[in-house]
């Protein structure tokens, strides 16, 4: 039996701050994250490479193992910028696959259910809606990119001493910055695809397709035109350039001659991709679509 009085009554209680309301979408979105067993297993698998790397860092400093190493008094592996570049590339690839699984379920269901008017008829803007949906990806991708990256960095610092930490603090900054740029690019591409393709499977395929098509075009331009500028349409190659630049590993020819696109070109290309995704989102995230 109903315990509530069945009459209409207004609400006169307190309200939450407007800025915090996008987090409701994060809570709602992340709740559905672990409904899929496959996704849960995949998310767990994403933590294996950082664990292996942490283990490698630990073993390279292990005194018991030192006598068994070929070059005594030298670490098993060198924990430097190259090591963190490898970490970023592996985790970046995992982030990309995870985005293809998570992204389509964010906006497409709202559009196919016609739920956008219900969100946007409230004191809740389109920007907040996109932020809320993006925060689901941001948190999930952060958990497998820069957060384990920082943990790895500080574990190495604890093993090697504070001098190593202060000397290499910029690496931590590079890991965070590189990861955040990649998360932003992935999130915007995923949301834009999710907004334009209402069928989840197709949206997932399209997210993967964007990267494969980019890589394919890159290869085609390089093969046919013998030009390195094809990299500008390949988001994966662009982010690797950014990683390398942030970690000080981007090679420049000894003559100083520019062989291909510069890091500035890469940043502009990534920014253009984000801009296009924002335009696509702005066109689709509307309470009502005008049919011309």
């Amino acid at each position: 039996m109903a315990v509530h009085k069945r009459t209409y009554r207004g609400y006169s209680g307190g309200l939450t701050p407007a800025w915090s309301r996008f987090l409701i979408l994060y809570r709602q979105g992340s709740r559905g994250l672990f409904r899929s067993r496959f996704l849960t297993i995949f998310l767990v698998a994403c933590f294996f490479p950082p664990l292996v790397m942490i283990l490698a860092a630990y073993l390279s400093h292990n005194a018991i193992l030192q006598p068994f190493l070929k070059a005594p008094n030298k670490p098993l592996i060198s924990i430097d910028a190259s090591f963190f570049l490898l970490f970023l590339q592996i985790q970046g690839a995992f982030a990309y696959v995870l985005t293809a699984f998570l992204g389509p379920g964010l906006i497409a269901p709202d559009l196919s259910n016609g739920a956008l008017p219900l969100y946007l008829c409230r004191p809740f803007s389109r920007t907040e809606y996109i932020l809320g949906k993006m925060s689901v990806l941001f948190v999930a991708l952060s958990e497998i990119t820069w957060i384990p990256g920082l943990i790895l960095f500080f574990i190495e610092a604890s093993l090697d001493g504070s001098k190593w930490m202060w000397d290499n603090l910029w690496i931590a900054g590079a890991v965070v910055a590189g990861s955040l740029i990649w998360i932003l690019v992935l999130s915007l591409i995923a949301l834009a695809m999710s907004a334009w393709v209402r069928w989840r499977l197709a949206a997932g395929a399209l997210i993967l397709g964007v990267f494969f098509i980019g890589a394919g075009l890159h290869g085609a331009i390089a093969g046919i035109l013998r030009s390195d500028y094809g990299v500008l349409v390949n988001p994966v190659a662009l982010i690797v350039m950014v990683y390398k630049d942030l970690l000080g590993l981007l090679t420049v020819s000894t003559s100083g001659a520019q062989l291909g696109p510069s890091i500035e070109d890469a940043c502009v290309a990534l920014a253009a991709m984000c801009g296009i995704c924002l335009i696509l989102l702005a066109r689709k995230i509307r309470a009502v679509q005008v049919v011309k």
């Binding site: 009459t7 209409y8 259910n113 739920a115 008829c121 409230r122 809740f124 309470a287």
Partner: protein
Amino acid sequence: MMPVVELQNLSVRLGGRQVLQELTGTLSGRTIGLLGPNGAGKSTLINTLLGFYPPASGTARVLGHDIRSEIQKVRAQVGFMPENDALIANMTAVSFVRMMAELSGLPRSAALERAHEALFYVGLGEARYRQLGTYSLGMRQLAKLAQAIVHGPKLLILDEPTNGLDPPARQRMIRLVQEMQESGELHIILCSHLLRDVEESCEEVLILKEGRIVHYSNLEEERRANRRFLELETQGANGDFVSAAERLGCECAILAEQRMKMILADGIEIRDIYRLAGERNIQIRRLNFRRDSLEDIFLKAVGTSNGRS
């Protein structure tokens, strides 16, 4: 009383077409019906009031807030039930309505409490833990109503709330609208092409045609006026009876030998007419109030080629 909606030369252009043309008017009734044939601009007007479409010129104020500059304040006070299916199929009703309450700014615990309350109120209490995708059309309409009232809006906008409902479900929806109206806590704008829905639940009606206001009518006043307009059929000589009625201040028009129309003067009741007839041994065989239904008003309004703006 503060007007619910004030339209000030409001025009809207969509896809290069003028959809609303310089609408001007003030609506302040407790329940306002929005009527018009298909394509008249009813939904466009609602969407514009909610800030979904930008006005091409002019503006409107909803509960005193300008839709151009204070749309978030407008939205904070409005509950909206859209015409089309607009639910998230894989959510339970209670979590969906709760989320909508939270998006309107209610804290989590209050949102949950009011979600349960709203679902019980609309009659979905027992089905509130079911996924919305499993709901029938009637239940979906009710769930849409629940999300529209969960945050206690001051203005409730219902876009075709009885669309696709069977007669009992329609009755239930209309009864809920009437109950909310009687609670006195909110104003309602009901957009419908079903005249009966509007007639049964609205105090005021605004009729749109081709993006213009063609008629505004206060149904309450119309009903009151209709009650003073009689059609009589009598038995017996009525010349003296007519003179006596006119001496009381009533206006009479004889249609045929035994039939007449009469407009009652202020202060004169029907029992006075019966008394006059009794004193003159005249039988009143039939007495009808004029029934100028909303359908008549509507047909008259949409038949008018020159719109009123």
